[in-house]
């Protein structure tokens, strides 16, 4: 065990934390909004809304994230009309492509989590709300979404951890976040175990903090709920 190397590489690897957190934050926030939309489309009785949502979820959940990233980053760049359009400004940036891929991915997975939460709502609650004269929008805002959030929170916590882990893939498209830096150091020093311990501990710490945060939110939201 080369402790000195571990000590030195720790200070190099922590420089990747901001990028990892930035990507996690941007893609989970954008992904969550998208997921609510996709989930609402998925449960809609209109086939023109529910079918696209179904296929979107099907394709994203059925293919590896790395392939999705390559498809967006390299695949779309093939077309001249894309390269000449304003889209190229975004698509030539690996960071944008990484965030876009992760956003779409988390949107599909979270949409299923949200759908599960929505379907667990007792029908009586919605009936009661409509018999009180609440409009569709009011029911959604005041009854359906608050209960869904509470129901879906534990599963969403797992999704957040998967997201933190998934950000490591953007290192393959040249972005130097935690895993990218760790990989560079490993191939220079040939000390895979030491670097794995350092980088792995940082990820474990981030994920531990997220788990705590979700637990805290769960307790807060379940305050006053009787099971």
């Amino acid at each position: 065990m080369r402790f000195e190397l571990m000590y030195e590489s720790f200070f190099k690897i922590i420089q990747g934390i901001p990028l990892t957190l930035e990507v996690v934050f941007l893609s989970t926030v954008c992904g969550l909004f998208l997921a609510v939309g996709v989930a609402l489309m998925r449960v809609s009785e209109n086939k023109f809304l529910s079918n696209p949502a179904y296929y979107f979820i099907y394709v994203i959940r059925g293919t590896p994230l790395l392939l999705q990233l390559f498809f967006i980053y390299y695949g779309l760049a093939q077309f001249i009309f894309i390269r000449e359009s304003f889209l190229w400004f975004f698509l030539e940036d690996p960071l944008f492509c990484g965030v876009l891929t992760l956003t779409l991915s988390t949107a599909a997975y979270s949409a299923e989590i949200i759908r599960g939460g929505m379907q667990s709502i007792a029908p009586g609650l919605i009936e009661a709300a409509s018999s009180m004269g609440m409009s569709k929008m009011q029911r959604l805002r005041k009854i359906i979404l608050p209960i869904t959030i509470r129901q879906a929170l534990p599963a969403y916590g797992n999704e957040l951890i998967l997201m933190v882990k998934a950000t490591s893939l953007i290192s393959i498209v040249t972005l130097m976040e935690i895993t990218g830096i760790a990989r560079t150091i490993i191939s220079k020093t040939y000390a895979p175990v030491e670097i794995f311990i350092v980088a792995g501990s940082i990820y474990l710490l981030i994920n531990f903090l997220i788990t705590r945060l979700i637990k805290f939110a769960e307790n807060k939201l379940n305050h006053g709920t009787i099971y």
Binding site: T63, Y74, A199, G200, Y203, L204
Partner: protein, 236 residues
């Protein structure tokens, strides 16, 4: 454009098909390896030994909390070294290099093993207590009880969970492409690079993965129905 995906010397059809076989092979062997690890660590978690419990808890926490890519790098760069170190203890000197397939199977197997551990642990806990008691009352030894009474039931109860682990494992094998194993991901990257048609080949790769996931989804559904014959399912 179509001639790019024909079979033969000029097209990439046969290479892509072969890479699909490789993806299926490495996923199956990873799942099998993962199930083996999962069974061992699930029994660790359910044992009375504090040490074994801690080891199993340590393993699942680390593997589930650290990116898959990092685990693959660890084994890719450190796997051969570890094997040579072990070989030295047994008196074997010299250079040993693990094939990308072996490294991939071990890495993805170790990852899927952590998820399998939880699935199998849950399934063992879901076997009614009476089954254990009845087996013991019949005078069955520990191993006879495990193999003839408990294990068949665990297999049935764990099947839906294993189906999920399979899907995750299959997708994780795409990451082994960084070690040079020519599976779908790697092959489509090579084809995209040499033909300058990334859109086409990544689209084909998407279709190939969707094909495997859809087929295996149906396979697991059938297996579940077959295994749960004679059991009433709630909600059906």
């Amino acid at each position: 454009m179509m001639e790019l995906i024909t079979f033969g010397d000029t097209g990439w059809g046969d290479e892509l098909l072969l890479s699909m076989v490789m993806t299926i092979l490495v996923s199956t062997s990873s799942l099998a390896f993962g199930l083996l690890i999962g069974t061992i660590f699930a029994s660790f978690k359910l044992s009375n030994s504090y040490v074994l419990k801690t080891i199993a808890e340590f393993y699942t926490t680390i593997v589930r909390g650290v990116p898959e890519l990092l685990v693959i790098y660890l084994l890719f760069f450190g796997g051969s070294g570890a094997v040579m170190y072990m070989a030295k203890i047994f008196g074997h000197m010299g250079y040993i290099e693990l094939s990308p397939f072996t490294i991939g199977t071990i890495a993805v197997g170790a990852i899927s093993g952590a998820y399998s551990t939880e699935v199998i642990r849950g399934a063992i806990l879901a076997v009614p207590k009476g089954q254990f008691e009845a087996a013991r009352t019949l005078g069955m030894k520990k191993y006879a009880m495990s193999f003839n009474v408990i294990f068949p039931q665990v297999a049935r109860l764990a099947l839906p969970g294993i189906g999920n682990v399979w899907q995750v494992t299959l997708k994780d094998t795409a990451l082994i492409s960084v070690t040079g194993l020519v599976e779908i991901m790697r092959q489509s990257k090579i084809a995209a690079g040499s033909t300058h048609e990334p859109f086409l080949f990544y689209s084909i790769a998407i279709i190939l993965y969707l094909f495997i996931t859809s087929i295996s989804y149906q396979f697991f559904n059938r297996a579940e129905n077959k295994f749960s014959k004679g059991f009433v399912r709630e909600g059906n």
